[in-house]
Symmetry: C2
Subunit: 225 residues, 2 copies
């Protein structure tokens, strides 16, 4: 069985887990704290980042872009549409929104929340910097406006069918939701979409995640939140 090196609240790790679960690929999860820069991790990945996919017999596949590419080419089903559409327009829209989530949402929101609430606390018993969290939360409000606007006219984020971009956004929002940082009450359209994607079988593994000493926020695992 392939092994997947992850951190439970790392959104890139969550995206990859959702993709594997949707494609029906069982993996053994190995929990890593990338920020400790463990020598065994650095030897596989000098960037000290996760996810890392270790297939039986193969070389490790390192970093989210490499792992997404590997999963799509190795495990995408032949019989049904995969998560990366082939039609030019749907493909471009999927990648545009993957770019939005993996680069922009991450840069403006998720990375700060994870750094302040998870990394700082674990690394030096620190407390989050409220001014950083305030900026991240204000940025998230802007992002949610945009997602609400998209979901007002779309069933899935890139159009009529579910794509990898839905899993990317769900991965990020689920990390933030674990930490209690998503204001669902003011984001009805996005909430409806999230309820739909959260109820998929692929999501179950994420909903049972727990971080020692940091309980999930109320409603995190509820399908009716």
């Amino acid at each position: 069985m392939p092994r997947l090196l992850i951190h439970r609240l790392d959104p890139a790790s969550r995206l990859v887990r959702l993709m594997l679960a949707e494609y029906g690929v069982p993996v053994t999860l190995e929990d890593i704290k990338p920020w400790t820069r463990d020598p065994a991790l650095l030897e596989i990945n000098p960037a000290a980042s996760v996810p890392i996919l270790v297939d039986e017999g193969g070389l490790p596949v390192v970093g989210v872009l490499a792992v997404l590419s590997a999963i799509e080419s190795r495990y995408a089903p032949d019989t049904v549409a995969g998560l990366i559409p082939e039609s030019p327009e749907a493909n471009a829209e999927t990648w545009r929104l993957l770019d939005w989530v993996l680069l922009k949402l991450n840069d403006e929101v998720t990375r700060y929340v994870i750094e302040e609430k998870i990394v700082k606390r674990d690394r030096r018993g620190g407390v989050p910097d409220p001014s950083v969290l305030r900026i991240a939360k204000a940025n998230l409000v802007e992002h949610m406006h945009y997602f609400n606007w998209l979901f007002a006219t779309r069933h899935w984020i890139a159009g009529d069918t579910m794509t990898l971009a839905d899993f990317a956004l769900a991965a990020h929002l689920s990390s933030l939701d674990y930490l209690g940082d998503v204001l669902w009450e003011t984001s009805q359209e996005t909430r409806d979409w999230y309820a739909r994607i959260k109820s998929r079988p692929a999501f179950r593994t994420l909903l049972s995640d727990r971080i020692a000493g940091m309980p999930a926020a109320k409603g995190y695992a509820d399908l009716d939140f």
Copy 2:
């Protein structure tokens, strides 16, 4: 002819230009200052980022990941190997290093240099913050150590053949080189590789770029630098 909306020193725009030139696809370049958030740009791309590829008749392809995917599927030659290898190991190594450059090098070095030296000056006639530039330069030294280490045993960054990861790194280093921020004298292995990639026909368009009021650093366009 397809149009490509870019900024001359934006490394993602440069990566896409290199890829198109290597595949022999002529495009019309349209210069954009993404930070001015021009309404015409926001209508095409609410993220206000470049590159954007506008094919005749098609919808705009927005953001670097979408444009890379579109170019590879529309323009990669059938007769020779494309820039994204198919063998699992080479594919994973190419994406690992694309991840490194597009996310890590950008996050730790390039974005700060562009923001301080280009955006700030253009937006409000500001001057760069020396403390930010100092950190970016120190980070670049660490990255160059790693690239030197790779190039000590590899002809191209992901192995024996040139890939998109070479163009990604060349795009970033060429932006930094235009601004005089690459210390070539302490990076012999990377310099040898850069001299090789810089002499490719695909690179010519980048070497003739000039920004009004900001001359290129000495050696920028020289093949023997």
